[in-house]
């Protein structure tokens, strides 16, 4: 029943095996493909959009709320319409994707690094360090995430950097707890005992033995958490804090268009909403398959 004690297969390289198992799900492949397209679009946004939606000089309110397919005053067609400021929705969505993904990825990576280091150290050393750290984690987790972010951003003001900071602060404890949980189990296993008996240094035991074995659940959690961070950012924008209004993320575009939903100008909130949904679903599809592939207990 204990997975770690099962000897690993050596039939092919781990990477090849991993790829093969991942590709078993067509849905996950679609997700991965979608994800790659989205990332490419976000990275090359300035090259592929007809307008820089973050430059107020390129917007004209006289072009506001045009339906999809309208020609505007700037000589190009608004394929997905415009919002109330005359922002081309297609450009807005691609730039918004860039901001949303950036915020999600950035905050997750930093939170992951901070959280897992803290959690790992706590689990390894135990005792006072652990109980202190875990109290801080408890404290952190006892605040509703939305609320913490809300108050933080109310204090910090608007800005992409500030949203990232707020998201890191609400997420790190989550990783700390996750890794501490799995490290606690791992720590009592024979191989750590063995490493210790060999009088290997703390650092070596921590990073070469403990960390790799705690990593799989962490990666899965992180994938899902990127999606979660993007959704949280959208909710914060909905509540009136978050990124600056002149540089909208997908979440903010939806929030701004939310008011137009009932009025018939559906494109302002529907298209960014669809884009957000696709992005999150793609990430979750990939994460979901990763979970299955990386869970040794399910391996046949």
């Amino acid at each position: 029943m204990s997975a770690a004690s099962t000897p690993r297969r050596r039939a092919d390289s781990p990477a090849a095996r991993f790829a093969r198992e991942f590709a078993e799900s067509k849905l996950a492949l679609v997700g991965l493909l979608g994800f790659v397209v989205i990332v490419l679009a976000a990275v090359f946004a300035p090259l592929i959009t007809p307008q820089n939606p973050y430059d107020l000089g390129q917007l004209d309110i006289m072009d506001g709320r045009l339906p999809p397919g309208s020609a505007g005053g700037w000589g190009f067609t608004y394929w997905l319409g415009t919002d109330d400021q005359g922002r081309d929705m297609l450009s807005g969505i691609i730039y918004g994707l860039r901001t949303s993904l950036g915020v999600g990825a950035m905050s997750t990576v930093v939170a992951l690094l901070v959280g897992s280091s803290v959690g790992l150290l706590a689990a390894y050393y135990g005792g006072r360090v652990e109980s202190l750290v875990m109290r801080v984690v408890d404290l952190q987790l006892s605040f509703p995430a939305i609320l913490v972010a809300l108050i933080l951003l109310a204090v910090l003001g608007r800005g992409v950097d500030k949203v990232v900071i707020a998201l890191i602060i609400v997420q790190w404890a989550y990783y700390a707890r996750t890794i501490r949980g799995s490290a606690l189990v791992e720590r009592q296993k024979e191989y750590i005992e063995a490493a210790r008996c060999l009088a290997l240094g703390d650092r070596r035991v921590l990073f070469r033995h403990l960390l790799p074995n705690c990593l799989p659940p962490l990666i899965v959690v992180a994938t899902v958490q990127v999606a979660h961070a993007i959704a949280l950012e959208a909710t914060l924008s909905f509540l009136g804090v978050g990124v600056p209004v002149t540089e909208p993320s997908l979440g903010l575009l939806i929030a701004e268009g939310y008011g137009y939903l009932l009025s018939g100008d559906y494109w302002i909130s529907v298209y960014p909403g669809v884009a957000l949904l696709i992005a999150i679903v793609c990430i979750n599809l990939v994460g979901d398959q990763l979970r299955d592939v990386m869970n040794p207990r399910l391996r046949r």
Partner: protein, 325 residues
């Protein structure tokens, strides 16, 4: 055990204390409640007078000490906005939120467990995959947007259910509850569904994972070999083992459902304490925000404690006290 409980209690008190400090500083940093509360017509003298009436002219540490002194005696202060004890204000709203959260949780379990088991037993079938893909959507929809869509579809286009508010309530043991009247129930369905969707996806996933693990267990194989009907295997042997982690996680999640009802309550105009919280933050009504957080943290700590104790009882390998490094 007693020592452990006392220690945990001490830590809980410390947590509450730290949190109160943070909220005081946080709200102080955001702004002066009087700026938002006072009529724009007020002159400087009136602004000063109002500030003094609410005790906001004193240094922050002094305000905090006063709060602390009162808090020890069970008085969490009076709302700046409503001129009522903050705790009363919140407890007034608690039943509404509690009712909604319980309803949402039940919904999540009764929808999630069967679907999750089905998906776990038939991972390769189209239906099993459809359930899993569906659960991914459940995870992915931003809550506020999803709520709006529910209102659009069920209240505006179809006209089946009311769009918001709490509807008719009746007294039950001194609390006003909606679930006993048809009108109240119809008001509760949409917000509860909105709140439940995310948790349903979670339950589906937990149940499916559990089902798949349990299905490989020796005792299930034995049961099969013994010729126990597969219906009985699923409903008796497997369900029992799957439900333990599901219920544990949901127990932990209950606190977060209550806390995260904020968005749902805003969208559906549900008069619960989450909505009160948002309004209080906007108006910088510090006593209410502090009291709300105190209460939420208290609930969280209580749940965590119960889960920890239960865990140690179930798994002797995780000892509660005096872990050695």
């Amino acid at each position: 055990m007693l020592v452990y409980l006392i220690r945990r209690f001490g830590q809980a008190m410390l947590t509450l204390f730290v949190m109160a400090v943070l909220v005081f500083i946080g709200i102080y940093a955001v702004g002066n409640p009087i700026d938002v509360l006072i009529s724009p017509d007020a002159d400087q003298a009136e602004i000063a007078a109002a500030t003094a009436r609410l005790g906001l002219d004193r240094p922050l540490w002094e305000q905090f000490l006063t709060f602390l002194g009162n808090a020890v005696q069970g008085d969490l202060g009076r709302s700046f906005v409503h001129n009522m004890p903050a705790l009363d204000l919140i407890l007034d709203r608690l039943p509404a939120t509690f009712e909604l959260a319980v309803f949402a949780m039940l919904l999540a379990i009764f929808l999630g467990v069967p679907l999750g088991m089905w998906a776990g037993l038939h991972p390769e079938k189209l239906s099993g995959r459809a359930i899993m893909t569906g659960s991914i959507f459940g995870f992915s929809l931003p809550n506020f947007w999803q709520g709006m869509m529910l209102i659009m579809i069920f209240a505006v286009i179809l006209g089946w259910l009311p769009s918001g508010g709490r509807g008719e309530t009746v007294e039950l043991l001194g609390f006003r509850v909606s679930f006993l009247t048809l009108d109240g129930l119809s008001h509760m369905i949409l917000p509860a569904l909105n709140l439940a969707l995310f948790k349903t996806s979670l339950v589906i996933r937990l149940t499916r994972a559990g089902t798949r693990e349990v299905a490989l267990m020796d005792y299930v194989k034995f049961a099969r070999a013994k010729g126990v009907s597969s219906r009985r295997i699923v409903l008796v042997h497997m369900l029992k083992n799957i439900l333990i982690p599901v219920v544990t996680v949901l127990g932990l999640e209950f606190g977060s459902v209550i806390a995260f009802a904020v968005v749902t309550e805003t969208v559906f105009a549900w008069p619960g304490m989450g909505k009160l919280l948002i309004d209080s933050i906007v108006l910088l009504d510090r006593p209410v925000v502090v009291a709300y957080l105190m209460l939420t943290v208290f609930i969280f700590i209580l749940i965590n404690l119960v889960v920890d104790v239960a865990y140690s009882a179930l798994d002797p390998r995780v000892r509660l006290a005096d872990r050695q490094g």
